[in-house]
Assembly symmetry: C2
Homo-oligomer: 253 residues x 2
C-alpha cells in the first residue's frame, strides 16, 4: 500500500454505531445492507421506482401509509403486520411500481441511511450493483466510507464482505488509499469468501435467521453480484436513481 | 460447524464498546491487547510479579504512586510523564519486580479489563500465552468471550487475529460451538495471517503508530506466540497468576 497525500481514502466501518469514528471519510458514504434492504433498493430502481423515502420508525411508516403512500416495512426479517411489502427484492419486481414513490423502513438498512445524513453524499451499495457502483466511485475522486448496516449494531459477514469487495476494487484502481485496520479486515474477509459466497456464508448468523424464514431465494439473489445497473443516491429526504452513472457527476453535499 | 445444546460457546467481540452485545457469553472473558498491555502482563507474571492492579484513569495511577506503589502508565504508545514504565513487555523483564504489586494503566487494555468486571471470570490473553491459555480454556467447559481491546473503540488487526487464533483452537477441540459472525470473521482473519503475522500486520494502523515510536522490538516480541506460561486472572481488584494452569479450577464469579 502506498500512502500519498493526493489520493482519496476508501475505508470500511463495520457497523453503524461506529460511524462517528469514521466521519472524516464521509464525503461519500456507501450504505450497505446486503440481506436485504440495499439489495431491494437497487432492485426497486431497476423496476422503475421513482423515489424511495427511507424512514427509521414504524410510526413514520404508518404516517406515510395513512397519507396514501406505498409503504414497505420489515422488522426482524419479516413483513410488519399491516404492510404489503417487507424488504424482499422480489417484492419490488413489480411493474406497477414504475414511476411511484415508495416509503421503506427496515431493521437495519434504513436506520443506517439516516445515521449518515451529515455525509457529503449517500449512495446505496450491494453486491447486485457492485461493478457499476465501483466504476462510479472511482470517477468521483473523493473520500469514500463504506458503511455496513450489520445486525443490531453487531457486524455481519455479508455486509463486511461486500464492503471488502468494493474496497478491493477501489484500491486496485490505484486511485485510492486506505489506512484503517477495519478496511484491511474487510478486504481479507472478501478475499477468503469471493470464490463461494454462499458456502462461506453458510455459517452466518443472519443467513441462518433468514433461512428459518424460508428466504433461500432472496439470499441467493442478493449474493449474486452485478445483476443491477442502479445506483441510488439521497436527494433531500429520498433516494433517487443516479441518472448518468457513466458520467462524472459532482454534487456538493 | 455443529450446533449442539451441550457445548459452550466461544465468541469474539472485536472492540470493548460492543461488550454489552455479547454479555451472554461472559462466563469467562479473555481480555486481549496484543500491542502491548496483555503481552506485558503475561511477561510481568513470567518474571515473578505477584499482583497487577489495572486502573483506567491516570488520576488513580497517580494516587497509587503517592502511596508508594510501583506504577506503569501508558497513553498513546508512550510512557506517561512522571512514571517509570509504560506497557513495553521489556519494562517488566526485571527481577526486582519479583513478589511485587504493580499498578498498570494503558490506553485500551486496562480500560477493557474494567469494562468486563461483571464477567464470571476475567483472564488475560495474548499471542505470548496462546497455547497454555487455550488448553486451560478448553478444560473449563464454560462460555468464553474473547474481548479485543482495539484502539479507541476501533477494531484492530492484531487483537482480532489473536482472538481468531484462540477461537480456532477452541473450535478445533470440538468442545465448543460458535454462532456469531464476528467469530467467523476473526477466525478467517487469523487463517489469512497465521503464516506471517509481521508481514500481514505491515499495513496495520497501530503497528505504524508504534513504528514511529521505534518499538519494532516490542512488536516482534508481542507477535511471537508461546513465549509465556502465564495465565493471569482477576481476583478482586487485581490480576494474579493462575497457580495450577493444568488443573481444573472452577471459581464462581
Amino acid at each position: 500500500m502506498i500512502l500519498g497525500p493526493n489520493k482519496p481514502f476508501v475505508e470500511v466501518c463495520v457497523s453503524p454505531d461506529k460511524y462517528h469514528l469514521y466521519r472524516e471519510y464521509n464525503r461519500i458514504v456507501v450504505v450497505i445492507d446486503v440481506l436485504r434492504a440495499t439489495s431491494a433498493i437497487c432492485t426497486a430502481f431497476d423496476y422503475g421506482v421513482e423515489r424511495i423515502i427511507p424512514v427509521s420508525a414504524i410510526e413514520d411508516a404508518l404516517d406515510y401509509k395513512s397519507k396514501g403512500y406505498i409503504v414497505a416495512a420489515e422488522r426482524n426479517g419479516e413483513v410488519v403486520a399491516g404492510f404489503d411489502r417487507g424488504n424482499s427484492p422480489f417484492g419490488f419486481m413489480d411493474e406497477e411500481l414504475a414511476g411511484q414513490t415508495v416509503v421503506l423502513t427496515t431493521t437495519n438498512g434504513t436506520k443506517t441511511i439516516n445515521i449518515a445524513r451529515d455525509a457529503g453524499r449517500i449512495v446505496i451499495g450491494s453486491l447486485l450493483n457492485l461493478d457499476v457502483l465501483c466504476k462510479w466511485l472511482i470517477e468521483q475522486e473523493e473520500n469514500v466510507l463504506l458503511l455496513c448496516s450489520g445486525w443490531k449494531d453487531k457486524e455481519n459477514l455479508e455486509d463486511t464482505i461486500c464492503a471488502g469487495a468494493i474496497a478491493e476494487q477501489l484500491l486496485d484502481s490505484m486511485k485510492f488509499q486506505s489506512i484503517e485496520d477495519s478496511t484491511i479486515m474487510a478486504k481479507y474477509l472478501y478475499l477468503s469468501a469471493k470464490e463461494n459466497y454462499l458456502g462461506f456464508l453458510k455459517a452466518s448468523s443472519h443467513r441462518r435467521r433468514l433461512q428459518k424464514l424460508n428466504m433461500n431465494a432472496d439470499i441467493k439473489y442478493c449474493l449474486t453480484p452485478n445483476q443491477s445497473e442502479s445506483i441510488a443516491i439521497m436527494e433531500g429526504d429520498a433516494l433517487v436513481k443516479l441518472k448518468v452513472p457513466q458520467a462524472k457527476v459532482k454534487v456538493k453535499g
